[in-house]
C-alpha cells in the first residue's frame, strides 16, 4: 500500500497524468481493491498413493470432524461451511497443509430449504435470495410448473442470468473471499442434457414444450458458460463436476458418484469414463471415484477395496461413504494409511496384458514404488502367483485380508481388490548396519511391518550405511573410512580418525542447520575414545569436534541428529557412550558444544554402551531420543524427550534374553510420513 501511495504521489508531483498513467492507476487500484484476484498457484496433487477423497456434505463441521477430515487428500464440503464452521478450515489446514478443499454447490438446482434462509451474512442467502426475486430463473415445463429430479429441490434454468450469477458468486463470495479456505469448487449435477427431467421441458420459457434436442443444446450451452466463466475468473482453482458432464475444457475432472454405476456402463464403462476424464480434463486432472455402501455399516471392506483398487488403476481419489443421499462419512480404512509411492507405469490386465484403453472385466494390476494393487472385476475368484513375495497390510479392520502376511500367491475374490506391499530391504534416511535383521515398531512398541534384512549388496556387511533419498546419496562408514557415493561414483572418501584407526566409525547425517545448509556428517568412534567430528557431504572438516565424554574413556561414542530441542534452532547432536560405556545420553548443539548434561537412559550400572537415534516417533513435531543397549545388554527400547522424560513405555525389540546387542534408528520406513523405530541386530545368526 505504501508503494502504491508513493506511486500516486510521484504522478501528482510530476503532473504527468496521462491516459496511460490513468490506466495504470486503475489497474493498480484493481489489484489493491481485489487482492484476492492475484494469481495463486494451483495446488499440486499428492504424489503418494493411494489418493483419497471425502465427499462430506454437512453444513456444520465439528472440531473432531475437522481433525478426522484432515486425513483425506481432497475433501468436498458445502460452500456454506465457510460461514458456518470457519474454524474447521483452520484446523484441517493446520493438520494437513496439503489438503485440497472443494466448495460444494449445485449448479442446476437449489435445495428448497435454502430459499428460506434470511441471514443476510450467510452465503446461502447471498446466492439464493435472487432466485426469490427472479422466478423466471427457475426451470419450468410448458405448464409453468417448477421441475425437479431430486426431492426437496427445484431446478434452475442455466440458460438464464443464473449462469452468470452463479459463476460470479463462486468467484467473488467463495474462492476470492476465502482463498485460504477453498482450493476449488465442486459443481454438483453438471448434466449435459435436461430433456430427460420432464418431457414438457420449457428451457426457453416460451410456454411451449421444447424440442428435446434444442432444449439439451441450450442447456449444455448454459452449462458451458458457467464453467467457462468460472475457469476464466479462477484459472488456478480446481473445478470439479458431478455427473457425466462434458466440460473438460474448463474443468479438472469429475466426481463419479456411486461407482461403478450401471448408468456409466458398469465397472468397464465406469473405468473407461474415469480414464476419459483423466485424459480430457484440465490439468491436473482430478477424479474422485466415489462408491457408496448403501448402508450405515462401514465394514463392507470388500466394496471399499473394490473402489480403492479400481481408483488406484488410475490417478484419481478414492472415496467411499454411505449413500448418494448421505455423504458425510468419516470412514477411514487401513488401506488409506498405506504409502504406495508413485505408480510405476499404468494399469494392465493380468491375463491379456492390455492397458487401460480396453477395460474388459478381469484381473487388473498396477505397480507402485512400494507395492502393487490388484482388482478383480470379474465374476469369479482369481488366484495369482506373484513373481516375488509381497506383504499384506498389517491392519486392524479386515484382518482376514490385511494380516501382514508375506505371500507369494494371492487370491482375489470377484469384485474385490487388494493392496500388497513390497518387502522392505533397507532403511532410508537413517543409519543402518548392513546385513542386520531389522524390526519396525511404532511408539507403542507394536510391529508395523514385517521384519526384514536391512541390506545393500553393494557394500560389505557390518558397514554403517545411510541412504539420503532426496539427494540420492549414500554414505558408508567402515572401520576406518567414511565414503560418500552418488550415482555409483565415489564423491569423497576420508578417514576421520586417521588411516591407522581401525576401531570403526559411527555416523549420523542430517541438515544440522535445519533446511538452510547442506547435509553434515557427524562421526563418532566405535572404540578408542569418544571423539565427535563434523564433516560436509564433500568430506570437508567443518568442526574438529569435541569429546562429549572424558577423553580417557576408551569406548567410543554413538551419534544421532535430531531436532530434539525446538527452541534451540536447527538440529542437535545426540550422543551416547559406546562400547563399555554407561547409559549416559548427552545433547550437543551443531557446533559440538554441550547444551544439555543429559540423562541416564538405563540404570547407571549398565556398562554396555547404548545405541541412540532421534526422530519424531509420536508425530508431535519434536524429535524424540530413542535408545537400545549394545552388546551385553537386554534389547529394551526406551524413548525420551530431551529432558530425559520417557514419552512412552519402552519395549523389548528382540527376545529379552538376547544379549547380542542391537542398533536403533528412527526412519519413515514405509513412506507414510510418520517416523518408525527400527531396531536392528545380527542375533538371528546366533539362535
Amino acid at each position: 500500500m505504501q508503494d502504491y501511495m508513493r506511486f500516486i504521489q510521484n504522478i501528482h508531483n510530476k503532473n504527468v497524468v496521462s491516459k496511460i498513467s490513468g490506466f495504470a492507476l486503475i489497474v493498480s487500484l484493481l489489484f489493491i481493491v481485489f487482492p484476492g484476484q492475484e494469481a495463486t498457484a494451483k495446488k499440486s496433487l499428492p504424489e503418494n498413493y493411494p489418493r483419497v477423497g471425502n465427499y462430506f456434505l454437512d453444513p456444520y463441521i465439528s472440531t473432531y470432524e475437522a481433525e478426522q477430515l484432515a486425513k483425506w487428500d481432497v475433501v468436498v464440503l458445502g460452500f456454506d461451511t465457510q460461514y458456518n464452521s470457519p474454524d474447521a478450515f483452520t484446523k484441517m489446514k493446520e493438520i494437513n497443509p496439503d489438503i485440497i478443499l472443494l466448495a460444494y454447490i449445485p449448479s442446476e438446482e437449489v435445495p428448497l430449504k435454502h430459499l428460506g434462509v434470511t441471514d443476510k451474512k450467510s452465503p446461502v442467502y447471498t446466492i439464493y435470495h435472487r432466485l426469490v426475486e427472479n422466478d423466471n430463473w427457475y426451470l419450468k415445463n410448458s405448464s409453468g410448473e417448477y421441475v425437479n429430479f431430486y426431492p426437496d429441490t427445484r431446478m434452475i434454468n442455466v440458460t438464464t442470468a443464473w449462469k452468470k450469477s452463479l459463476s460470479n458468486f463462486v468467484t467473488k463470495h467463495v474462492l476470492k473471499e476465502h482463498p485460504k479456505k477453498w482450493d476449488g469448487v465442486f459443481y454438483d449435477n453438471c448434466f449435459n442434457n435436461v430433456a430427460w427431467v420432464d418431457p414438457k421441458i420449457d428451457v426457453d420459457a416460451d410456454g411451449k414444450a421444447d424440442n428435446w434436442n434444442t432444449a439439451d443444446a441450450q442447456w449444455k450451452n448454459g452449462m458451458n458458460v458457467i464453467m467457462k466463466r468460472t475457469r476464466n475468473k479462477n484459472p488456478n482453482s480446481f473445478i470439479v463436476c458431478n455427473s457425466n458432464g462434458d466440460y473438460y475444457t474448463y474443468i479438472n475432472g469429475r466426481l463419479m458418484e456411486a461407482f461403478p454405476s450401471d448408468y456409466d456402463g458398469g465397472w468397464s464403462g465406469s473405468m473407461e469414463k474415469y480414464f476419459n476424464v483423466i485424459a480430457d480434463g484440465d490439468i491436473p486432472s482430478m477424479v474422485i471415484v466415489n462408491t457408496v455402501a448403501d448402508s450405515t455399516d462401514s465394514t463392507n471392506y470388500k466394496l471399499m477395496r473394490y473402489n480403492l483398487g479400481s481408483t488406484l488403476l488410475g490417478n484419481g481419489f478414492a472415496s467411499y461413504d454411505q449413500s448418494i443421499d448421505v455423504h458425510h462419512s468419516l470412514w477411514w480404512y487401513d488401506e488409506y494409511s498405506v504409502a504406495l509411492g508413485n505408480p510405476l507405469g499404468g494399469a494392465f490386465n493380468v491375463d491379456t496384458n492390455a492397458g487401460p484403453t480396453n477395460f474388459t472385466d478381469g484381473l487388473w494390476r498396477r505397480n507402485f514404488q512400494r507395492g502393487i494393487v490388484f482388482v478383480n472385476s470379474s465374476n469369479s475368484d482369481r488366484t495369482i502367483q506373484l513373481e516375488e513375495g509381497f506383504e499384506k497390510i498389517l491392519g486392524t479392520q479386515d484382518t482376514t485380508v490385511n494380516n501382514g502376511e508375506v505371500v507369494g500367491t494371492v487370491k482375489i475374490p470377484a469384485h474385490d481388490g487388494i493392496i500388497l506391499l513390497g518387502r522392505i530391504d533397507q532403511v532410508a534416511n537413517a543409519p543402518f548396519i548392513n546385513g542386520t535383521f531389522a524390526k519396525v515398531f511404532n511408539v507403542e512398541g507394536n510391529q508395523t511391518r514385517n521384519a526384514f534384512f536391512s541390506y545393500n549388496s553393494l557394500f560389505p556387511g557390518s558397514n554403517t550405511i545411510i541412504y539420503l533419498e532426496d539427494v540420492a546419496t549414500t554414505i558408508i562408514a567402515d572401520e576406518t573410512y567414511v565414503t560418500v557415493r552418488k550415482n555409483g561414483q565415489t564423491i569423497t572418501k576420508f578417514a576421520p580418525y586417521g588411516d591407522q584407526f581401525k576401531g570403526g566409525i559411527n555416523i549420523a547425517v542430517d541438515r544440522l542447520d535445519g533446511k538452510k545448509k547442506g547435509y553434515r556428517i557427524v562421526t563418532g568412534t566405535k572404540d578408542y575414545g569418544p571423539h565427535v567430528k563434523i564433516y560436509s557431504l564433500k568430506g570437508k572438516l567443518r568442526n574438529p569436534g569435541c569429546f562429549p565424554y572424558a577423553e580417557s574413556f576408551r569406548g567410543g561414542v554413538n551419534v544421532a541428529i535430531g531436532d530434539v530441542i525446538k527452541k534451540n534452532g536447527g538440529k542437535e547432536i545426540v550422543v551416547a557412550a559406546a562400547k563399555g560405556g554407561g547409559p549416559h545420553v548427552r545433547i550437543l548443539n551443531r557446533n559440538c558444544e554441550l547444551i544439555s548434561p543429559g540423562f541416564f537412559a538405563y540404570d547407571e550400572s549398565l556398562h554396555t554402551g547404548i545405541s541412540v537415534a532421534a526422530g519424531d516417533i509420536d508425530n508431535d513435531g519434536s524429535d524424540e531420543i530413542v535408545t537400545i543397549p549394545s552388546q551385553g545388554g537386554a534389547p529394551y527400547v526406551r524413548m525420551f524427550n530431551h529432558k530425559g522424560n520417557e514419552v512412552s513405555p519402552g519395549f523389548y525389540a528382540f527376545n529379552k534374553d538376547d544379549r547380542n546387542g542391537a542398533q536403533i534408528s528412527v526412519s519413515d520406513i514405509d513412506g507414510d510420513e510418520l517416523s518408525e523405530i527400527v531396531a536392528m541386530s545380527f542375533s538371528i545368526f546366533n539362535q
Binding site: E388, N660, I684
Partner: protein
Amino acid sequence: MKKVLHYTKKAAQHAGKHTTILLFPYAWHYMTDHYKGRLHHLVVDSIISLVVMCLIAINFSLLVWLYLFFIPPELELNVTMNDTVISGDELQIDIGYHNVNKGIANVKINVHTPSGFISESGETDFSFNSLSADELGNIVIPGYFTGNVDEQYRFVIIYEYDYYGQHYSGMESQIVTVSSSSLELVSRVPEKILNDETFTWTVEYVNSSDVKRNNTCIQLGISEAFVVESSSHTIKDDGSVCFKKMKPRESGVIEITGAFHNALGEGEQIFHVQAFDNSKAEKYSQVEIQNPIHVLTPRLELGTSGIEVINVGDVVYYTNTYTNTGDVPLKNVLITTTLNGFAGRATTYTSTGNANRNVLTWVDENIEPGETHSQTFTVRTNSGLREKNVSMSYTTSAGAEIDDLGITTYTRSVSKTIRFNSTLNFIVLQRYNSPAGDQLGYGPYPLKAGNLTALRVFWEIQDFTNDLSNVTIRTTLPSQVEWTGLSSVTEGSAISYDPGSRTITWHSSSVPSFSHAQGAQFEVRILPNFQQVNQRINITNSTTFTAYDGFTGTTVSRIVGPLQINDPVQADTE
C-alpha cells in the same frame, strides 16, 4: 703555682723566639732590624735555613718510606673445590681472594687446570686493575671434569700484582682425587653356561650426570673362547662399543649374544667391561668391572616332542627325552618342566613324576654314558575353553650330578608353544519364521506339491574363537529350487549366484571373532512336484565351509550334508 706558670710562660716565649729565629730567620730579622747594617746576617740566615730545610726534607722522606714499605702488600687466596670429584660430572672451582693491607694494581689470577677440566665459560684467567686495601672477592669457575678414576689431579692458581713499582707474585694449588665416574656400568652374565650354549651378555650403561658426554667408549673384554653371534651395538675390532654422544641421564643396554666354543673342560671365564672417555686428547679410564662365568662341558642333551596346534577338548602327550652325551655316568638327573598358561585351559598328568602346580619334575637316579631316557606327561585340554588366540607353553630343563668331578651340570632348556585352533560351529538351516516368529518365507508351509514356497537358508558361523580369514561357503541348488536374489551377509561381500552351475557362494576376506553374530542368509523358492509328496526334498545340496585360522596357520573346513525341508511335502487337497 704562679711561679711555675710564669717560668713556663717565659720558657715558652724563649723557645718560641729562638725556634722562630731558627725556622724563619728571614722573617725575624726583617721584622726586627730589616738587616739594616747587618747584611751578613742574611748570609748566615740563608745557610741556616738551607740546613734546616734539608733536615726537614730528610726526615719527611724517612717518614714516607716508613709508611709505604715498612708493611708490605699481601694478597690472600683461598681455593675450594667439590668434596667428591666424579669423572664426567660437574666440578666447580671457588677462589676467594683478600687484599689484606695495601691497595695493589694490575692484579692477575691465572688458574691452571688439568686437561680434563672444561670451564663452562671458557675463562680461567682473571685480572683486576686494582684492588683496594682489605678488598674481598670470589671467583667461581663452573665446569666439568673428566679424569681417570682413582687418580689425583692438581689445580694451580698463580697470581701477581704491582705495588708502587714493585711486582709481586704467588701461587696456590689444590689436589683432587677422582673417586668415581658418572658413566656407570652393570654387566650381567649367567653364573654358568654350557659350552656351545648360546646366552646373552648384557651391559647396561647410564650417564648419571647432568652433563653430556662425547666420544665415550665401553671396552668389552671378551674372552677368546666366546664367539659373538649377534650384538645390539657395533663392536669395533678393538672390542669397544663407542658412543659419539651420550645425553645427560641417557642409559642403554648392550646385548651381546654368543656362546663359548671349544672351552676346555669345566672352568671359569671372565668378562671385563671398562668405560673410557675419549672426549679430550687424553683417554680417561672410567669404571671397570668384571664378571666371572663358569663354562661347563655339556654332558646331557635334552629334547621335547608333541604337537603344537591342538583343538579344545584334545588329550595330547608330550615327551621329554634326555641323553648322557658325556663319558661318565650322571647321577640324580632332575628333569623340570615349567608350564605357562595352562591354568583353566588344560590339566596335566604324569605317571612317573611329580606335579606341583605349574611344575612337573622327574628324578632319574642314574644314566650311563650314551643312554637316552624319556619322561612323558599328558595334557587334557578344557573342552569349554572359548578364548581368542589362546596359547600355552612349557619349558623343560635338566640338571645332574657328575660323580667324578663332584659338580652339578645342567642342560640347555627346551620349550614348546601350544596353540589352540579356533573352535567353530558351522550351521546350515532353513527358516520360514525367525525364532521370534517373524515371517521370513511365504507360501504353504509345510510345503505342498504344486505350490511355491519361499524359505530362507541360513549359514551361521558360531562359537569360533580366532579371527578367520578367506572364509568361503559354497553350495548348489537342486533343480526344483529357485534362487530369488534376496540375500544378506554380516561381513564381507555379497553372496553370489552362478545360474549356470546353480552355485551359491559367500566369500569374506575376514570374519572377526567375538564381534557379533556372523553368517549369511538367502531366499530360495521351492516348487515340489506331485511325485515328491511325502518326501523330504533337498533345499540345498552339501555345503562346504573353508577358512584360514591366522593364529594357528591352519585351514578350517567343514562339510554339511544336504539341507532338507523339515517336513515331508504334502499333497494339495484344495
